[in-house]
Each structure stands twice: as C-alpha cells, then as structure tokens.
C-alpha cells in the first residue's frame, strides 16, 4: 500500500490577517506557517495505513521555498518521501494547483491519494476532487472513518447531520475531516531520521506542464478586504436571570424576529 498525501502550508490559525500593499494578497511578513490542520489528519491516516501494510507515504506540496519546512515536518512525523514542486502557488487558481499535483502524483506509485478536506485559509475545498477528476479516480470527501483492504476502501463521509458509507476501488482520492484520527506529534527520533531524507525538488516544466497550464487563472482575485470591525453592542447585567431572560426574549422577538 503506497499513499500520497498532498500538503498545503497555511498561516497559523491563531494569526491575525493583514492585507498586503497590492490589496490582493495577505501580508506574509511575520506570519508563522503551519501544515494545514486537515492535511495533518490526512497524513496521520496515510502513516497508519503504512504501519499496517508497509509501503511508502509520499508527501507532495506545490509552493515557494518555505513549503520545504512543512514537508520536513511531515517527514519527521513518519512520511517516507517528499516531493516539492517549486512555484508561486498563490499565482495559480485551484485548477492550476490541481494540475500540478495530479502530474506530480503520477510520478510516484500510489494506491491512495489523501488531502485535507480544505486548506485552512483559502478555504476552497476544491483541489482534492479536481485531482480525482484529472486522474479519473473515485473520490470520497469529508471522511471520518476509513478501512482499506483487497484493493478497495470503505469510508464514512460526513454530510449534513448524517453519515454515508461509501465503497470504492483503489486508486482513490480521500479528503480527511477532523475526527478521522488524532494526528501524532513528531518524535525526536523522527526529526533526526527526517534530516537524512532528501526532498525531491521539481519544477512545473519537469512535470511536463507549461506555465500557461498552471498560471492561466480562471478565477482571479480582484481584491482582498478585512471585514468591518465590530464594536460590540449593548451590554446587560445578568445578575437577575429572569430579567436577563426577558431582555434576550425581547431582542430575539423584536430585532432578530426569530420568535
């Protein structure tokens, strides 16, 4: 069983977001970058599959130089190989990124391709299913439980207030939801072992793609804005619960019109 895990590196969820001078990107100065939290869940699941039935876990990321740090982190947790496709991924749209990842995935043996259910930040939830389509694989999105055996998988897919059980042949694309597992931290031994693994670095052209394939954006960002700062509304002393309940009811009825 060989798995590929596609990783995106995103600003730490604790970060305050500032807009860059061009008004179309975030200001990266001083931001701490992390492996996108759902991608950590995807990686953990791939490592567990490897621990059950051997094989490789290859992590792939498309992005600038800084994503090497995210790939190192994944190697330290238990990935066995890493591919870094160099390029300014923020200049590509989701389909451009999916084309790069699909091409990179083809260069390495795989039975399962894992993604997080969304990159925390751009919050598109697009790239995983796009890669599935480009590779002609079945997909199961927002997976909370996975079993693999006999060239097939059985997965639980979270939908609105319910859960589906889906079966599919391998190779297949899975996008991981929190709850699928509890991701491990890197051990000191893992960190040391990871240092010995060379990251395979490729360019977009090495993968047989042209800049036009990747950077010809179908979705372009016209502007990026921060939401209007809220100042906080009316405050009410809730020392008397009955009076507080009355105050809330009045608000729900008269302003929210929800009663």
């Amino acid at each position: 069983m060989n798995s590929v895990v596609c990783i995106s590196q995103v600003p730490d969820t604790e970060s305050r977001i500032r807009i860059a001078a061009d008004g179309r990107r975030i200001d990266e100065a001083g931001l701490k970058f992390i492996v996108s939290p759902y991608d950590e869940v995807a990686l953990e699941e791939a490592i567990r599959q490897k621990e059950k039935s051997a094989g490789d876990v290859t992590v792939i990321s498309f992005g600038p130089e800084r994503v090497q740090q995210a790939l190192r982190e994944c190697l330290a947790r238990g990935a066995t190989k890493a591919i870094h496709v160099k390029g300014e991924s923020s200049d590509a749209d989701s389909l451009g990124i999916a084309k790069v990842l699909a091409a990179a995935i083809k260069t390495t043996p795989h039975d399962l391709v894992f993604f997080g259910k969304q990159g925390v930040g751009s919050d598109n939830s697009l790239v995983g299913p796009m890669v599935a389509e480009l590779l002609g694989y079945p997909q199961v999105n927002v997976v909370t439980h996975l079993e693999v055996g006999d060239g097939r998988l059985t997965a639980h897919r979270e939908i609105e207030a319910a859960e589906e059980t889906i079966e599919a042949p391998l190779p297949a694309v899975i996008t991981a939801q929190k709850g699928l597992n509890e991701p491990r931290y890197a051990s000191l031994k893992g960190i040391m072992a990871a240092k010995k693994i060379a990251i395979d670095t490729k360019s977009v052209t090495d993968l047989g793609l042209s800049d036009g394939d990747v950077f010809n954006q179908r979705v372009t960002i016209a502007s990026l804005e921060l939401p209007a700062e809220k100042t906080g509304g009316r405050k009410f002393d809730g020392a008397d619960p009955a009076a507080a309940a009355q105050e809330i009811i009045k608000y729900i009825r008269d302003e929210a019109k929800a009663l």
Binding site: P11, T13, E14, I17, P37, D93, V120, G121, S122, D123, N124, S125, V127, P129, M130, E133, L134, Y137, P138, Q139, V140, A161, A162, E163, E164, T165, I166, E167, A168, P169, A172, Q177, K178, G179, Q217, R218, V219, T220, L224, E225, L226, P227, K230, G232, G233, K235, F236, D237, G238, A239, P241, A244, A245, E247, I248, I249, Y251, I252, A258, L259
Partner: protein
Amino acid sequence: MPGVLVFCEVQDGKLKKTSREALTIGNKLAQAAGGDLVAFATDSSVAAEAGRYGAKKLYVAKLDSYSTEIFTAAMQQVVNDVKPSVVLLGGTSNGRDLAPRLAARLDVGVASDVDRLEWTDGKVRARRPVYSGKAFATVDIVGTPAIATTRPNAFPAVEVGGAAAEVVEVNVTAESKAKLIDTKVPEAGELSIAEADIIVSGGRGLKEGQNFSYIRDLAHAIGGAVGASRATVDAGWIDHQHQVGQTGRVVSPNLYIAAGVSGAIQHLAGMSSSKHIIAINKDPEAPIFRVADLGIVGDLFTILPALTEEVKKAKAH
C-alpha cells in the same frame, strides 16, 4: 441565449433551502445577463416550485442517491446542451463535492462558498470569505461557464411567481466506481449547523460535557442547531460536526446565541458574520462581547434555563 443553470437538491418532495437560495440569486444573474434561468434536479415533482423561483426549464435525470461520478456526467450533459454562462450549486455537502469535479471536467473556473454574486462586464464577480471570515476576497470567474457554490443563508430565497418549469428528461448512462452502501442519521432530529437559521453554541464555560444539555434544551425549544467551540470538541464533550470556527464550520445564521464561549479568534472568525449575535458570559472582558449585538454578563447556568422557559412560553402562544 446564455443563461444560468442551477443544480437543485430535493428533500421530501421539495427543493432544499440552499437550492431555493441558489435559484433566487441565479434568477437575478440571468436577468442581468439577459438569459434564462434553468434548473437541474432528480425529481420532476419540483417543476412547479422551481418555476415559482423563476426557472423556465427543469432538466430531470431520474437518479437515486447522490453519486459524484454519475452526477458529474449528468451535469456535464446538461451544460453541453444548455451552454449556460453560469452554473450555481447550493453549498451543501453534495454541491461542494460536485462543483470542483464538474469544473475540472469542463476545464473552467469555480469559486466556493460565495456570499455575493453579480454579473458585470460580461463576467461573474463573486465575494467569498477566506481565512474563515478573517478576510473577504472579491474574485472574477473568467471563462464559460463560470461555476460557484453559494453559501447557505447568504442569499435569502424569494419566489418570483413564474409558471411551472418545463420538464426536460436527461438520460444518463455513466457508471460510478464509488458506491453508496448506507446512510446513517446518528443524532436523529438534530439540525446541522451548516444550514441552520438559529444556532445555540456552548463553550468551556459549560464546565463539563453533560452540561451541553443546557445548550440542547434551548436549541430544541427555539428550533435551532447546537454549536460548540473548539475547546469543547477537543475535550470530547461533543462531536466535531458541531464545531464552529476556523477548523470547524463557518456559519452565518440569522441568530447566534453563544453561552460560555469566550471568543477565541478562530471561533469569532467562524461566526461573526451571523446577522444577530447574543453572548452570555460571566467574564465582562470576554472577546465574544466585541462581536455580540446583545451581551449578557452573567451565569449561563441560571440564565439559560430561564430563557428556555420563556422561549417555550412564547412558542406556545
């Protein structure tokens, strides 16, 4: 004539709310673009309802349960037939599963979870929250068709009162590698926070998991969904499906009631676009009060039961 195609989902013989919302904004775009609004569904019984939201035609593929691969093939067929300028899907689990697959098949652009849409200069301009609502991106979707998934609750559904949509049958021969085996509804009767009009959320101030009963009681009385902060999910007090915030769901209900939620930056990002926000917290300095329209400084363990009783009384009238 170029128009707008809306992917519709049917539940209990009616259009899902998110589909009605997508039809409503789709109709506005179609008028601006000078084309017709048409819809896709798996059940012809919603032709009259789709018509009331402005759809002229309803393309019906008689398919059972949702399947990514078969539905992608069905929508591809309809797109090839209709040649719409815009394809909209309500941002449900299925809409969000299907949109990227369809976009990759057609080699076109797609914007997810948009909360504003307009037709300008012959193209679609959309706004979407990024960084879980810490920022908003305005994007142009170039090329045809432009695809978008609409954020639940962002486009209030309004009937325009048209005649029943003309039903056009679609025959789909595609097969699916993935097969649906079973659907379970683990918490029967519980609403999903994704589409709820009202959400009652609990945080660490509940002190222990069993005290989520205070939240559930109010949510049931008022007809809302149960939300939760990340801390309570991480502590194992409640299932992740309920989590609001950056690694949970970004929600924008009409009414959001937060009790015992201090308001970490990730939580605020996930709920501050709610239309009306009430916070109950004993700490007057809690960050949640910065986004609350009505802030109650007090003890949730006495205020919530009193409020639940008042809601029941009001509902009984």
